[in-house]
């Protein structure tokens, strides 16, 4: 639990808070990018290099750009007159605080039940890209195929859903 952990955790949480709280939707999308980058750094610090770089490629490279496109296409950057928060914001905040209280209580109260009691194992696990590729092509080949099918279906579905309707089909 060094200094780096606290810096990266603070960056991630600040990005997440800003993404949820800021008024301008474009600023929210940029803060979301900061949160994703902080999470990628945390993955790298946890010796999960492949997941960290996949996070950067997929989230910062694709999802954040998609979000910005959607904001611009829907003119979402205009701040609505009656506030950016829903009428029932107090109940939502209370539910989120209660969920965090339960999760934090569970994490802090169950240190003895964690997988390795004395904290971290001394040696960092090695997960090279070769090992991951072998696992993907061996033990996890069926989930990989299903994910490929899912991505194809999502690609076609997103295009069909967002496609302009023809003038005659109204």
């Amino acid at each position: 639990m060094g200094m780096i952990f606290y810096v990266i955790a603070g960056l991630t949480l600040a990005g997440g808070l800003a993404a949820v709280l800021l008024k301008n939707t474009v600023h929210c999308a940029l803060a979301l990018t900061v949160a994703f980058a902080g999470l990628a750094l945390q993955f790298l610090e946890l010796d999960a290099q492949f997941a960290g770089f996949a996070q950067i490629l997929v989230y910062i490279g694709a999802v954040a750009i998609l979000v910005v496109f959607a904001i611009l296409l829907t003119r979402g950057s205009e701040t609505p007159k009656d506030g950016v928060f829903s009428r029932t914001w107090l109940a939502g905040m209370a539910i989120a605080a209660a969920v965090f209280a339960v999760l934090g209580w569970a994490v802090l109260g169950s240190t003895q039940a964690l997988p390795v009691p004395g904290g971290a194992p001394t040696a960092a696990p090695t997960a090279t890209v070769m090992q991951i590729g072998n696992a993907l092509m061996g033990r996890y080949v069926l989930p990989l195929e299903i994910v490929a099918l899912l991505l194809t279906a999502a690609l076609i579905g997103a295009v069909i859903v967002a496609m302009h309707e023809k003038a005659g089909t109204e």
Partner: protein, 103 residues
């Protein structure tokens, strides 16, 4: 506090932030952003358990996180497509105003 507990607490806080955003924002795109934050918090949990678990050489948590990232990308594409489609139909992305199922 062990390192694992630290990461789990960060993930729990990020999940709560995302949940608060999903429940309180009016803009549908911001709700999707909040859901992405919650998915990412779950991914952080998976990677942390993989790193500090008893059998990291099995790569289970890492694989789960990678598949989760792929599914989240598909979810974002379809969700934003739906938001654009709703905007074209109702000319708003305010989910407080989307209270009809009939077009």
């Amino acid at each position: 506090m062990t390192p694992l507990a630290g990461y789990l607490l960060v993930a729990a806080l990020l999940f709560a932030i995302g949940l608060a955003g999903a429940l309180t924002r009016r803009n549908a795109i911001l709700v999707l952003i909040s859901i992405e934050l919650m998915l990412n918090a779950a991914n952080l949990n998976l990677i942390a358990f993989w790193r500090y678990g008893p059998h990291p050489e099995a790569l289970t948590g890492m694989m789960f996180a990678i598949f989760s990232i792929a599914v989240a990308a598909a979810e974002a594409a379809v969700g934003l497509g739906l938001v654009i489609s709703i905007y074209r139909h109702a000319h708003t992305t305010d989910i407080d105003l989307m209270n009809r199922m009939k077009g």
